[in-house]
């Protein structure tokens, strides 16, 4: 065997060994998403604790600028309430908020104490000093936690402990975290200790699959269903879904895809059968209404193995129908 051949064998063999070695390490020890590539999803995910059951994201700026939003703008209620809020806080939702990330943390009982389970991270332009002054006026306290300003408010009417205080943390110059004081502290710790949802391989796998969506949600269905306090009769009838994701793109219309991963292939097949029946019913009900017919036709059921996916597209024609109905009601109201 010549040296040239030996080198070739060594190089190709090394590629195989390195590849297999990486795979074995990833299988047994897990591989953070940050290895090789930047993490999928928004940067705010670094503030979401690793045990989050659901993570949702909305690009508020995109949605606010969408044709759909512009279309329904004139039907919104008066500006008086909005102006009052803006005067007090200096915050204009339409112009100042860029993105919002919400997370559900499986702590305590979701049904009886929902405030403990939610974390909201909003990115945008905030006047921290103004918000702080307003909070102090209303009896809030301002503290520092890990070098971040934390405004906490205790509801005197409730007999809750200090742990249940609601809090707003200014975690970055353009990012605030909102939730119970414990949750906001957990968010700051998650980023500092690098123990956040970005290291949750299953969750990030779903986030990574999202494409061209300006609003989405992914999570463990069984984790929230178990804590939602549903009656046993209903809970036992629910499909055995483990993971779910919903992603949508809003512009002129709305398009999106709902995905579910079940605990086994039989459950997935059952779910597909149920959805097939519902789709057939929807198509029958859509009748001759052009917009609804188009919506019904856009529903596509797919998936194999343990996966079920339903994609949809709400066309502009559906909103034409809704807009017509809303304008008709307004006109009737004006005549009366």
């Amino acid at each position: 065997m010549s040296n040239k051949t030996r080198y070739f064998v060594a190089v190709t063999g090394a590629i195989l060994v390195i590849g297999l070695g990486t795979g074995i390490v990833a299988s047994y020890m897990g591989l953070p998403v940050s290895v090789f590539t930047s993490a999928a999803g928004p940067e705010e995910l670094e503030y979401v604790p690793a045990d989050a059951a659901v993570v949702a994201y909305a690009n508020v700026r995109d949605v606010m600028n969408s044709q759909l939003r512009q279309r329904f703008r004139e039907m919104e209620p008066g500006q008086d309430q909005k102006n009052e809020f803006e005067e007090k806080t200096g915050l204009n939702f339409e112009q100042d908020i860029e993105t919002v990330v919400a997370a559900v943390l499986p702590k305590g009982n979701l049904a009886s104490k929902p405030q403990d389970a939610f974390l909201i991270l909003a990115r945008g332009r905030f006047q921290a000093a103004r918000l702080e002054a307003l909070a102090l006026e209303h009896g809030a306290t301002v503290t520092d936690y890990q070098g971040k300003r934390l405004i906490t408010h205790h509801d005197a009417d409730r007999n809750d402990t200090a742990d249940d205080d609601m809090a707003v943390g200014f975690v970055e110059a353009d990012l605030i975290a909102f939730g119970s004081a414990n949750t906001v502290r957990a968010a700051i710790d998650a980023r500092r200790d690098n123990r956040n949802v970005v290291a949750n391989i299953d969750m990030m796998r779903l986030v990574n699959e999202l494409d061209n969506a300006n609003a989405w949600a992914v999570g463990r269905f069984d984790a929230i269903a178990g804590q939602s306090g549903l009656p046993t009769e209903i809970a036992s009838q629910m499909p055995a879904i483990t993971w779910f994701s919903a992603a949508g793109h809003i512009n002129g219309g709305i398009s999106g895809v709902l995905k579910a991963e079940t605990k086994d292939e039989a459950s997935a097949q059952n779910l597909r059968d149920v959805l097939k029946g519902l789709l057939a019913l929807a198509k029958m009900q859509a009748g001759n209404q052009p917009g609804m017919q188009q919506l019904a036709d856009s529903l596509i059921l797919s998936g194999d193995g343990k996966n079920v996916a339903l994609s949809f597209q709400v066309p502009t024609e559906v909103f034409d129908v809704l807009e017509g109905l809303a304008k008709g009601r307004k006109a009737v109201g004006a005549i009366q």
């Binding site: 795979g23 074995i24 290895v35 061209n212 596509i300």
Partner: protein, 269 residues
């Protein structure tokens, strides 16, 4: 010299010859295609777009890798390499009129074929399997590696088995027939493709039928041929498929060895 020692000597000699022959350029082009495709998919995804969509749904990472294993490696690259290398094991020596030099050595004739066959396996395996590995790491996001690694190992094993079985069949074709390349191409891209799309038992006389049943990825349903095949698809159990593939391998390799040992090769002047 024993049969296996002789095979080892032929293997050493043939591996270098195979790796640095003109045929390797062809192999590099064939195997480089999927790597290039994976790079393009990666670049497209880096720009926030999706390279492949089925029913309006994004097919990402491991899904694209699965499609590549199905459509490119198992259905094209493995049979094509099997045909070009397998049929040439003995036919090249006959064509170059160098077979006399091998047969005048004090080694069993069958060892020549077995040594060359092992060199073919090493040569194609060392090119195809690393390219699959590169395609995998280009397409599959790090977060999905843990969940899909077993499927990758299955794929690598399957491709190795495919190369071995196709190689054995075409080694026999190359040793027995006068125009082995034409017969090999007709078998791989004529007989196998047609019979797989037809209902009935004839598909049991193909290699692709058994290989397909072992693929850990779902069959893509976006092509007319795949839909047709899916309609008539009967998957044999894994054990049965493996047993048939091993039987093909052993029987054809044995037959090829017997042919080489008994056949009188008449060199054209």
């Amino acid at each position: 010299m024993s049969f296996w020692q002789a095979s080892r000597r032929v293997f050493d000699l043939s591996l270098g010859e195979m790796l640095w022959s003109r045929r390797t350029i062809f192999m590099a082009l064939v195997v480089g295609g999927p790597v290039l495709l994976a790079v393009i998919v990666k670049v497209v995804e880096l720009f926030g777009m999706s390279a492949l969509r089925v029913n309006g749904q994004r097919v990402a990472g491991f899904g694209v890798f699965g499609v590549m294993i199905w459509m490119l490696f198992l259905r094209f690259i493995v049979p094509v390499l099997g045909v070009f290398y397998g049929t040439a094991l003995m036919a090249d020596e006959v064509e170059d009129k160098t077979i006399t030099y091998l047969f005048t050595r004090p080694i069993p004739r069958g060892a020549v074929l077995v040594g060359k066959y092992l060199a073919y396996l090493a040569c194609t395996g060392l090119v195809v399997l690393p390219s699959v590995m590169i395609v995998y790491f280009l397409l599959v996001p790090p977060a999905a590696i843990a969940g899909s690694f077993v499927a990758l190992v299955t794929d690598l094993g399957l491709l190795g088995l495919g190369l071995a079985v196709y190689g054995a069949v075409f080694a026999f074709v190359g040793a027995y027939f006068k125009r082995p390349l034409v017969i090999g191409l007709l078998f791989a891209f004529g007989w196998e493709q047609v019979v797989l799309a037809l209902p009935g038992y004839l598909k049991q006389f193909t290699i692709a039928f058994y290989l397909q049943s072992l693929v850990p990825h779902a069959m893509p349903s976006d092509g007319v041929a795949s839909i047709l095949q899916g309609m008539f698809r009967e998957s044999p159990p894994i054990g049965v498929a493996l047993a048939w593939l091993l039987a093909y391998l052993v029987v054809f390799l044995y037959m090829a060895t017997r042919v080489v040992e008994r056949k009188e090769y008449v060199l054209e002047q």
